[in-house]
């Protein structure tokens, strides 16, 4: 830990700067309203906070349901060592999505309204319920880690008994709202650019969430190797890489077929703002990682796998921003660039996520070595995955 001190200091300074900017932006947002703190307008009512914080935030947290399904449903026990950091990341991710929503909603104190004022015809209503329920599921999936530290034996036993139904509920809820974030845009056939508007939007959002979930597990392993000196064994990363290649392949074929059948392919022949950003998304998120992962030599190395994971994450972040911002601009007749206050809030939320994760790793039995240290090994054997 001591050896990393200089770098930590730099990151700490940056972190404090971002947080101060975020604090100021927060004050502007909650004293002067959305008009003063964002570049949103009647023509462009959804910006960075929805496009990045919510759409990308939920997508980046998809690792949680992918991994719990892999370990507990498909019984691939070899992935158990990383289930805790992944579930923690997912839980933090969802909590931060809710925090971001509190910034974006015009009346944040009414965030609970969808839970009591029902409108089953609304995709937003469904997303609200799923996110509320799934955040609860993630909290329960992560709770054993905290209970272990505090040695709460009874709650631990209860959680262990309901762990499988919890995992199944989590997977179903995730499937529903990951795809529903795409369904949100089914209602704007005239507004969303034809490169992105498709009746298959929910399917695309779901498959890409699976891809990004896998990529995030690889990426997080790299991050924890940098920050905490802990990483996945290479064979595990390699099998994640192979699954990622297959998922990306399925997505690429489906996306291409969809463009073809909707007659949207010719749009790519004309250079435009939309075409350029579409190509950016496809090259970074699909073509490059597929080409790299298809090469057995690259797929075999940790470095190659990390690179592909980062490309996939960046590519699909671009995809979400394209759907929510790029694709909506031409119909709105405006060019939206987030105000600095919007960026400061988003950066602070990301920073807070990293900081809380680091704290959790320090004080809770998250990584396997830490688990060994924290409690009795025989008690934990059944426990480790029960999350």
């Amino acid at each position: 830990m001591k050896m990393q001190l200089p770098r930590l200091t730099f990151w700490k300074a940056l972190f404090v700067l971002i947080l101060l900017a975020g604090l100021y932006a927060t004050i502007v947002r909650f004293t002067r309203g959305l008009g003063a703190s964002t570049n949103l307008s009647d023509n462009f009512p959804w910006g960075l906070w929805i496009g990045f914080d919510v759409l990308c935030g939920v997508m980046l947290a998809a690792g949680g349901f992918i991994l719990t399904a892999t370990v507990h449903i498909f019984n691939l026990k070899k992935f158990e060592p990383i289930i805790r950091p992944t579930v923690l990341t997912a839980f933090l991710g969802y909590v931060l999505v809710v925090v971001a929503l509190l910034f974006d909603l015009g009346r944040p104190y009414r965030i609970w309204h969808p839970l009591v004022m029902w409108n089953p015809h609304s995709v937003m209503f469904e997303v609200a319920w799923c996110v509320a329920l799934y955040t609860t599921v993630l909290a329960l999936e992560f709770a054993p880690v905290v209970f272990e530290r505090l040695r709460f034996e009874r709650p631990l036993r209860i959680l262990r008994t309901i762990s499988i139904p919890l995992v199944i509920a989590g997977v179903i809820l995730s499937t529903l709202h990951q795809s529903s974030l795409g369904s949100l845009y089914l209602i704007v056939p005239e507004k969303l650019h034809p490169l992105w508007y498709s009746p298959l939007l929910p399917v695309f959002f779901f498959i890409s969430a699976v891809a990004v979930g896998l990529a995030m597990v690889i990426f997080e392993s790299w991050m924890s190797s940098k920050a905490f000196g802990k990483q996945l064994e290479l064979p595990l990363l390699q099998s994640l890489g192979r699954v990622l290649l297959v998922v990306l392949g399925v997505y690429a074929v489906l996306r291409f077929e969809d463009l073809l059948h909707r007659g949207a392919l010719p749009l790519l022949l004309h250079s435009s703002y939309e075409t350029d950003l579409f190509l950016l998304e496809v090259v970074i998120g699909l073509l490059l990682p597929i080409a790299l992962l298809a090469n057995p030599r690259i797929r075999a190395t940790a470095g190659g796998l990390y690179l592909c994971a980062v490309l996939v994450v960046l590519g699909f972040v671009t995809n979400r921003l394209n759907v929510s911002i790029t694709g909506m601009e031409s119909a709105a007749g405006v060019h939206y660039i987030p105000r600095w206050t919007e960026i400061a809030v988003t950066a602070s939320i990301i920073g807070a996520g990293f900081a809380i994760f680091a704290l959790a790793v320090k004080y809770l039995p998250i990584f396997p070595e830490a688990i060994g240290r924290a409690a009795h090994p025989e008690e934990l054997r059944g426990e480790m995955g029960a999350a």
Partner: protein
């Protein structure tokens, strides 16, 4: 009987009395400066747009199957039996999905306020419920804005076009757009010149999302059984392997 507004732009003289009446009814400020604004906003719920000597009103179309009412997660928008689409600010959480989704870009937001509301024309729902015409129709001196039963107004619009086919574009805007609206428009110049999209789907937009949403209960049941089944099989395999392993060990010991 569902009510509607028929606006015939060929009769409009750009007096803006509808704008004034609308502002009064909604307790919004109104002066020459606001009158000159040609777009809808949180403080202007209807606007007369001028293109040379041709005029066109903008206002909430009060759709037969409103997109805003379908997308709102808290059901703040309601289509009333009389025709108006109302908004309940006490439910609204401010997600602005209605603004995103509205095919006519009607709902506007009070961006400058700390506790903003969505604003839009609600076709004077209280007046209509009391059997009165909308404030704009009552104020109109030329009959360009006419209030009445939707079916009768459609028949009248068709008759006006048939009587003067050269004067009108052969299109009643709002008759079929997104499944029909409670505001019907007639014009002598293409609607697109006033910013009205003519490529709008004829089907109600809510069907686009409900088609997917309605499958969710089935998906939950199916997913539960499927995932539970996979869990059972994968873990059963393990138990069997363990049991067989034990059996083999037991036999080995016997020998």
């Amino acid at each position: 009987m569902s009510k509607a507004i028929l606006y015939d732009s060929t009769l409009c003289i750009d007096c803006k009395l509808c704008e004034k009446a609308c502002a009064d009814r909604n307790k919004l400020p109104y002066d020459d400066k606001i009158g000159a604004e040609e777009k809808l906003s949180a403080h202007k719920l209807t606007a007369v747009v001028a293109r040379g000597d041709k005029f066109m009103r903008r206002l909430c179309m009060n759709c037969e199957e409103p997109t805003c009412a379908s997308v709102c997660p808290v059901g703040a928008f309601r289509k009333t039996a009389g025709g108006p689409v109302t908004y309940d600010a006490t439910r609204c959480i401010g997600c602005r999905y209605c603004m995103m989704a509205c095919p006519f870009n009607v709902p506007k937001y009070e961006w400058g306020l700390l506790l903003p509301r969505v604003r839009k024309c609600d076709m004077c729902a209280d007046r209509v419920a009391a059997g009165k015409p909308t404030a704009c129709a009552e104020a109109c001196p030329t009959g360009a804005t006419k209030f009445g039963d939707r079916d009768e107004l459609i028949a009248e619009a068709k008759e006006r076009i048939a009587r003067n086919p050269k004067q009108y574009i052969n299109h009643i805007y709002g008759l079929n757009e997104v499944g029909g609206t409670s505001v019907l428009l007639l014009s002598s110049v293409p609607f697109a010149e006033f910013g009205y999209r003519t490529d709008i789907l004829k089907q109600p937009l809510p069907t686009l999302t409900y088609r997917v949403l309605s499958k969710i209960p089935d998906l939950v049941a199916l997913g539960g059984v499927l995932l539970g089944g996979i869990w059972w099989i994968t873990h059963r395999r393990e138990e069997v392997a363990e049991a067989e392993g034990n059996q083999a060990e037991v036999e080995r010991k016997k020998e």
